[in-house]
């Protein structure tokens, strides 16, 4: 019998799903026994669905014919050589590309079953649901506290204790609370690069998004800060759907459940990370991840 559970993503799930709040004991045992996470997709509805999606910069094609499903409470990595369209696709998921002139799309890209390129879609609401973390940490030149409450305040939350709770929760979730709890009024710009990036993740989480898009979130960080972000991604995937673009293939292998390989604007291969990195089905994927081209 299937029991419907609604978690933070608002996506109905069955009790057998390892990503769900109430995983089946057998799967836990399996994970403990093998040390591997069990990936299932039959029991989860995808949260992001792309169907023959094209994105054009004027006459130039950014991505073409992208059909893929991204599942909730998991990490999906997008890899590929520079200019392959991975960031274009990522930024299409919360319509960040709308800010670029003369762009247009074809096909559908849906979040939670809703085509986000439908004219009726409220962009503010979409970006509240689909947060984004950029390559370089970009905290506002404000205090740590004000950075986090910026989004909730825009949403109309004024109650001080409610804002305090949001700040504490987001900083705890982003593993930054213990480091900054005594100096919340300090300028965010005074934090280290790694702390700034975790603050940006905390800021993105403050509006309670369902999806977090990360565009090379560690490329400007040292290995220690990178390790902390990766640990954070691992913790966050219990509640969030994370899509990460990375040039670091070891990072993609470490943090993601599924990997998509893009090349020349096309989706070449998409599958479970454990399969893509050990036995890719496509020669181009194999050549890329073994460094034979790109």
């Amino acid at each position: 019998m299937e029991m419907t559970i609604l978690n933070k993503t608002g996506v109905p799930k069955t009790e057998d799903c390892p990503a769900c709040d109430n995983p089946n004991a057998t799967l836990i045992d399996e994970q403990e026994r093998t040390g591997q996470e069990t990936e299932t997709e039959d029991c989860c509805e995808p949260i992001i669905t792309s169907d023959k999606f094209y994105f054009y910069y004027g006459k130039k094609t950014g991505v073409q014919d992208i059909s893929m499903s991204i599942y909730p409470c998991s990490v999906t990595a997008i890899i590929g050589p520079s200019g392959c369209g991975k960031s274009t696709f990522l930024r299409s998921i919360n319509r960040m590309n709308d800010l670029i002139l003369h762009t247009h799309v074809k096909g559908t890209l849906a979040v939670n079953g809703q085509d986000i390129y439908d004219k009726r879609v409220n962009l503010v609401s979409l970006r509240q649901q689909v947060g984004m973390v950029f390559q370089r940490p970009n905290p506002f030149p404000k205090s740590i506290y004000d950075n986090i409450v910026y989004g909730p305040r825009l949403q109309g939350i004024r109650n001080r204790s409610e804002l305090d709770d949001i700040v504490e929760q987001c900083l705890r979730d982003s593993a930054l609370w213990d480091e900054v709890k005594d100096e919340l009024k300090k300028s965010a710009l005074a934090l280290s690069g790694g702390q700034q990036q975790r603050l940006c993740i905390a800021r993105a989480m403050a509006t309670k998004p369902k999806v977090l898009l990360m565009d090379e979130p560690c490329s400007a960080l040292d290995p220690v800060a990178t390790g902390k972000i990766e640990e954070l991604i691992h913790k966050l995937k219990v509640d969030y759907t994370i899509v990460i673009v990375t040039h670091n293939m070891q990072q993609a292998a470490r943090v993601s459940n599924r990997t998509a390989f893009f090349c020349m604007g096309e989706l070449i291969e998409y599958g479970l990370t454990k399969d893509v990195f050990t036995n890719p089905q496509n020669k181009q994927t194999e050549d890329y991840i073994t460094g034979r081209f790109g």
């Binding site: 057998d16 089946n24 057998t26 399996e30 293939m249 070891q250 292998a253 990195f277 050990t278 036995n279 890719p280 994927t285 194999e286 991840i289 073994t290 460094g291 034979r292």
Partner: protein, 230 residues
């Protein structure tokens, strides 16, 4: 990454060379035992330490490549395969050295190998499968590897037939208990070499396809258990 591929190619060559040395060791050991050539048997035993050293060096290089390059896909499968095949080849060399060490005892016990045609058949089958395995390793052919796995079943049958035959009184050809034990140990060593060839063949299949074909029944049972529980 070109450097990784270069280093991998060198490793594959070293493994091929090791395979040929191991094949030669078995050929010499079986020739020595059948012909009572004690010096040749001792020589096989002496040469084993060079194979041991080579095994360690190949493994060290594999670990270095894993640590330095974090290989993926075919490169990762190649290194995993080299580590495992390297170990199996070294074990085969140990078994060949063990046969070499038994030449003296077999000669002292005046074992007449011509009285045991089953043993000769076991020797030639094992030499064939090892040669076949070493050549298949060189070309990494999964289809031939599957045939090697089947061929090992014939060696197992030969071994069982030989042992059950030698244990029946009328087939002992007047040999004492020590001679019979020596014969059984020699046959067991040959049978084990066949098993190591099967392991190598399974690793070749993994290298080419990414599939782990060991213990198919156990894996099938396990997936059946999981489905049932879900």
């Amino acid at each position: 990454m070109a450097e990784l591929q270069e280093r991998l190619e060198k490793l594959i060559l070293r493994l091929d060379l090791m395979g040929m040395r191991v094949e030669q060791a078995l050929a010499d050991a079986t020739y020595a035992i059948i012909n009572g050539n004690i010096a040749l048997g001792q020589d096989v035993d002496r040469r084993d330490s060079a194979i041991d050293r080579e095994e360690v060096e190949i493994e060290q290089e594999c670990i270095r490549l894993l640590a330095l390059y974090q290989p993926a896909a075919i490169d990762l499968r190649t290194i995993c395969t080299i580590i495992k095949v390297n170990s199996d080849l070294e074990r085969i060399a140990d078994l060949a050295a063990g046969i070499g060490r038994r030449v003296k005892r077999a000669t002292e016990n005046q074992i007449d190998f011509e009285s045991y045609p089953g043993f000769g058949h076991l020797v030639s089958s094992t030499a064939d499968i090892l040669g076949w395995t070493v050549r298949t390793l060189k070309v990494a052919d999964a289809n031939t590897a599957r045939k090697i796995i089947k061929a090992d079943d014939d060696i197992d049958r030969c071994y069982r037939k030989f042992v059950s035959g030698i244990l029946s009184h009328e087939n002992r050809a007047g040999q004492g208990v020590e001679a019979i034990l020596t014969l059984i140990n020699l046959a067991k060593a040959l049978e084990r070499i066949g098993d190591h060839c099967t392991n190598i063949a399974e690793d070749i299949i993994f290298l080419k396809t990414g599939d782990i074909v060991r213990h198919p029944d156990a894996m099938k049972d396990h997936s059946h258990d999981k489905t049932a529980l879900q």
